[in-house]
Symmetry: C2
């Protein structure tokens, strides 16, 4: 595979370490393929973007002290923070180097996104210092942290395929936002086994995601106080169950899912003239499921 070749080109030790990373859904690579087909250029673009995305996850896991990723141990858990930081830097820099192969427009879309993404990570950490109930700040943060690279992926693939960059950018942006909201919902609704990591991890890490913001809006004073008292705490099973129950009862989950569905529909609207079944399915698979 192309990414493996890229990494082998620069360093054997880095390649050995890279092989220990559990591969994800490759959403960004899939997007490139569905928008721009499977030419040499689009395969190379996919590889570059997935390398950059992996680099950001490696650093994220160090920053968030996450011990698991996709159901297995994270690189920082297995080999220490240093290795994760260094491998991240190698993947970032190789990604940037290979980006120069493409038209300047594409290189700008992606570089700009990485810059925003790194600012998004800092916003995420800063927002986690205390309980954030500001939806605007939440959406600004998830836009930068998650959506912006998916938006840039869609724009770059559209540029490569000579399709409308603005429409595909809008698709990517809304897909990215919906994807993150759903991810934040799943952290609440799924079991540890289904997630491959502890559930309700966001709240423990100080992250008041959209379901929590909605929940706080609907709780009475007493319950709001109780929820506040659990913020950033290691939760007992009873406390976990109480949060999950309140999330359902209050309609916070439903509201968050409906918001994600709205974003998904915006994404679909942006590219409806192109009648691309695959891209429609990316959205519907994400939002039409049980939560």
């Amino acid at each position: 595979m192309l990414i493996s070749n890229f990494i082998k080109e620069i360093d054997d030790d880095a390649f050995l370490l890279y092989q220990k990373i559990s591969q994800g859904k490759m959403l960004r690579a899939k997007l490139v393929s569905k928008i721009a087909g499977d030419s040499e250029d689009s395969k190379k673009l996919s590889a570059v973007i997935e390398m950059i995305h992996t680099a950001s996850l490696l650093h994220d896991d160090v920053i968030d002290e996450s011990k698991t990723r996709r159901g297995v141990h994270s690189i920082n858990a297995l080999y220490g923070d240093k290795s994760a930081i260094m491998l991240g830097d190698i993947l970032y820099s190789k990604g940037f180097l290979e980006l120069l192969y493409f038209d300047k427009e594409i290189a700008k879309f992606i570089s700009d996104a990485v810059c925003e993404l790194s600012v998004g990570e800092m916003m995420d950490v800063n927002l986690s210092n205390e309980i954030n109930l500001d939806k605007v700040k939440y959406f600004q943060m998830i836009y930068k942290k998650t959506s912006v690279l998916i938006e840039a992926t869609a724009k770059s693939a559209a540029y490569l395929a000579k399709k409308d960059v603005i429409s595909y950018g809008l698709y990517g942006k809304n897909l990215g936002l919906a994807f993150q909201v759903i991810d934040d919902v799943l952290d609440v609704t799924m079991s540890d086994e289904q997630l491959g990591k502890p559930s309700l991890a966001d709240f423990k890490e100080g992250k008041t995601t959209l379901p929590y913001i909605y929940l706080f809006e609907s709780l009475n004073d007493q319950d709001a106080q109780r929820l506040k008292s659990l913020y950033k705490k290691e939760l007992t099973e009873d406390e976990k169950n109480w949060i999950k129950q309140k999330m359902r009862e209050s309609g916070a989950i439903l509201r968050a899912v409906e918001f994600a569905q709205k974003l998904g529909k915006e994404a679909l609207k942006a590219i409806e003239v192109d009648k691309n079944d695959d891209l429609q399915r990316v959205i519907t698979d994400m939002i039409e499921r049980d939560f």
Copy 2:
């Protein structure tokens, strides 16, 4: 200053944190100015390269667990590893984004260097696992970790000024190697006060730099055993003095300095036809001093 503007453009929090970094000698910016003058383009190139260099130092300090940098507390010591990783990512990505403003050749010189630099950091860490007495490995590592970005800086500036890229690259490469060897010598010969950080830190961190490699070559078995027993240890004053004395007695310091001087002369030779007094002085200031 241009770097400040670049960082302000993307994030206020990042700018506040950036201001806490103690500024260094700006060797790379000086090089650009001495080679390519002070046009808008060369100022921008300096800013981009110094941003990237600062990013690499931020991550280095996390990886090496360095608590001081240039005589003051490092960012990781002051604000934690997370902040240093995130600010490093922001500076790297903004640096790459602004690099796209330049000709593709320049963007490639620098991106390629950053890629090698990040591999060099990994080599440095891996070489520090046990005592390395292989000079070839040492030079491969310092070439990547230190010299390659200085080489790329000189090449980029020469390209900008329509001067000979190969000659200036050779100048930068040898300057970078000499600079690192001298830095490694100073870690042994200078006091904690002169260094602005604990002396003999390299050996404690597992780094057998050129003076140590030479020293091991010249010690008798008993002294070599003693030196080995001090590897990676917190040293007493007596042990520190013993190492410093042996370094002088054995001629290891002198050999290392002479090697750096040889590299410096190679650097001067590469650009002698241009008769650039400033660039000659960069070398002579570095190698004609007391150690």
